[in-house]
């Protein structure tokens, strides 16, 4: 094999034989997807809100009416127990009162305010109350236009950034710290081969990092790729190259893993916030937009969403791809120039 192939093989071997690194790279996206799955699981029926009815009060009259209502779940408690449940937050609302019904709750708690409205609505409805203004409802969110559809491409972008930068940074700084880099440059090895090998090895890992997220999103949330798979693959590869290059540059001087962590965080944190992973970057002031738009993660997320959500072809992404290409060339070039080999 050529030196470049051997160097790529070394990178892949040393990485996959390190169980901890393996977990963080391949286990993390799956955990992330599971976590999101729990947060965004589809609720067919909203769960009823528990409310306490104090025994021996006027509220007891409405026990049957509330039991029949789908929004709330009444529980009979004596005064002391009801107070206790309200204080500890087990129950957001207590119904009591002599003569007329009294709501006891903490207006600072959103779930208490919600319980108050739902209970009031259920009681009025049972009593035959009419609504002065009639409002129709459409609670169905169709696949393609939901938050989760928008979020998944952003998560893929985030994952490409973090695995690229950590994967490259840690491996290299470890080799530098252990003087393995020094040993290699005491050979006729071409330095560009070494750096290129780090980036090429990233491509092999992509295969295991990105498909789990895409598959999970498709199977569990029905998030579908509206554009072509080929276009998505191209965008992902270009993004992976960009962040591998940035990872090389960020780790080009650090002597210790701690130092590299600091630099990586410094580079990634602004993009984590600004580049529209969890919410749209358009929320930031107009004056910041020119800067935000040229950040590599913004360009990558925009391109991913264009393919994923809008189904645009590669040709329509030339702006984003150009931004990523410039970052890649620039960071690889600078990394080669400033690299600390010993």
């Amino acid at each position: 094999m050529s030196a470049l192939q051997e160097l790529v093989a070394m990178r892949i071997r040393t990485f996959i034989r390190e169980p901890e690194a393996l977990f963080w790279t391949f286990g993390f996206p799956i955990l992330l997807a599971i976590g999101l799955g729990l947060a965004f699981r589809e609720e067919t029926e909203p769960t009823p809100v528990p409310v306490a009815i104090e025994i021996g009060t006027a509220a007891e009259h409405y026990l049957d009416a509330l039991s029949a209502a789908p929004e709330v779940e009444p529980i009979l408690l004596d005064r002391a127990a009801a107070e206790q449940a309200l204080r500890t937050g087990e129950i957001p609302l207590v119904l009591a009162g002599t003569g007329s019904v009294l709501f006891r709750y903490d207006p600072a708690r959103p779930e208490s305010r919600q319980a108050r409205l739902l209970t009031d609505f259920a009681i009025q409805r049972a009593a035959g109350g009419t609504r002065p203004v009639e409002i129709a409802e459409d609670p169905e969110r169709l696949p393609g236009g939901r938050y989760i559809d928008w979020l998944i491409p952003g998560l893929i972008g985030l994952n490409l950034m973090s695995t690229g930068m950590w994967g490259i940074g840690f491996g290299i700084v470890h080799m530098r710290q252990k003087k393995q880099l020094k040993r290699l440059i005491a050979t006729p090895m071409r330095r560009t081969d070494f750096l290129l090998a780090q980036i090429l090895a990233r491509l092999a890992f992509l295969l295991f990092e990105v498909p789990p997220i895409i598959l999970f999103a498709w199977l569990v949330f029905k998030v579908e790729i509206s554009g072509s798979l080929l276009a998505l693959l191209v965008v992902i590869m270009v993004g992976a190259f960009t962040f591998a290059g940035l990872g090389l540059l960020a780790s080009s001087r650090a002597r210790t893993v701690e130092g590299a962590s600091g630099i990586n965080n410094l580079v990634m944190l602004p993009m984590f916030v600004l580049s529209g992973v969890f919410f749209s970057a358009s929320r930031f002031p107009d004056a910041m937009q020119p800067i935000i738009n040229v950040l590599p993660l913004t360009a990558l997320n925009d391109a991913l969403r264009a393919v994923y959500n809008e189904g645009l072809p590669i040709g329509a992404l030339s702006g984003e791809l150009a931004i990523l290409a410039v970052w890649t060339v620039l960071s690889f070039g600078l990394a080669l120039k400033f690299y600390r080999w010993q």
């Binding site: 050529s2 070394m10 080799m175 005491a186 050979t187």
Partner: protein, 314 residues
């Protein structure tokens, strides 16, 4: 592995006036060295004497603040790409990826050299055949060191640089490394090694330079260095008296006196004449001899007489 041509124009390594400073510490101070082709040259000195910095400057891994280096008639600033493939280097610390196997490691190193032996030959040569599929992290210290030596030999080098090749190894592993070094020599290779083991220097090196505080104190063959003491024997003794160097220097056959506190050392050509005279001197002064020891002079005695310290103290 191929036979090396016999030494051509003679000089393998030559440096003049090497200086290297780290902050306020002078690591290397006016070092001149000449190593002939086919020679094994040893840098002997304690930790911090400047051996590693000197070697790494010669290896082109560090830049000297001043001075000139010529390796095989080539220079690092001009001829790095021509020079690099002709050198085999072993750094002081083990520096191989822990999770590659022996074979994978050698394949990696072999891939960056234009010529050299086959990997399986090399594995057998350093007797790691049974370990070829084991990861580096499970190898013993001796096996790691042999692998590291194999990585240095992988490009069939003209010169081998070894920085403390047997530090931390058991006696059997050390002999194994020595055998491999001798074999490299018999095929015409040149070795520059550093060590703080006197026995290693004596066994392997044709010539030695003793280094201390960044400087070369003396250079020559072991025999020449020992001869510089003026006598082949050393008499060491402790007594209840404070004997002056003048007094001891006038004892018969004594060529040199070293005071190391209460412990005194005399280099002598004829201990059978020196010792009775020493007895008489102590008796006359009504002192008492508390310890007496005599041995053939070694490099350690040379080191002690040059630096006032024993090599093995650190």
């Amino acid at each position: 592995m191929t036979e090396h041509r016999p030494a051509g124009d003679g000089v393998a390594i030559r440096c003049r006036g090497l200086h290297k400073r780290f902050g306020n510490t002078i690591a290397v101070d006016s070092v001149d060295l000449d190593v002939a082709r086919g020679e094994c040259f040893g840098l002997l000195g304690s930790n911090g004497a400047g051996k590693t910095t000197t070697i790494e400057i010669l290896e082109g891994l560090q830049e000297p603040d001043a001075g000139e280096v010529e390796i095989l008639g080539l220079r690092w600033d001009r001829d790095e790409s021509e020079l690099r493939p002709r050198l085999g280097i072993q750094l002081q610390e083990t520096e191989l990826p822990e999770r590659l196997t022996v074979e994978e490691t050698l394949r990696l190193f072999r891939s960056v050299y234009p010529t050299g032996p086959r990997v399986d030959q090399l594995v057998d040569y350093v007797e790691l055949g049974e370990k070829r599929s084991d990861q580096v992290r499970v190898l013993s210290g001796g096996q790691r060191q042999r692998l590291s030596l194999a990585c240095a030999l992988v490009g069939d080098p003209d010169i081998l640089f070894l920085d403390e090749p047997t530090t931390g190894l058991d006696p059997q592993s050390r002999r194994h490394i020595w055998d491999l070094c001798r074999d490299f020599r018999t095929r015409g290779g040149t070795i520059l090694m550093s060590t703080h083991f006197m026995d290693e220097a004596e066994r392997l090196a044709d010539r030695l330079a003793i280094m201390d505080h960044g400087s070369v104190l003396v250079a020559g063959t072991t025999r020449e260095l020992i001869a510089s003491l003026g006598g082949d024997h050393v008499v060491e003794f402790n007594s209840t008296l404070e004997l002056g160097s003048d007094e001891l220097g006038h004892l018969p056959a004594v060529t040199r006196v070293d005071n190391a506190g209460a412990h005194q050392r005399l280099a002598t050509r004829e201990p059978h004449r020196t010792i009775p005279a020493l007895y008489r001197l102590i008796d006359r002064r009504q002192g008492e001899l508390t310890a007496l020891n005599t041995h053939h002079a070694t490099l350690d005695d040379v080191f002690l007489s040059l630096t006032g310290r024993q090599l093995r103290d650190d």
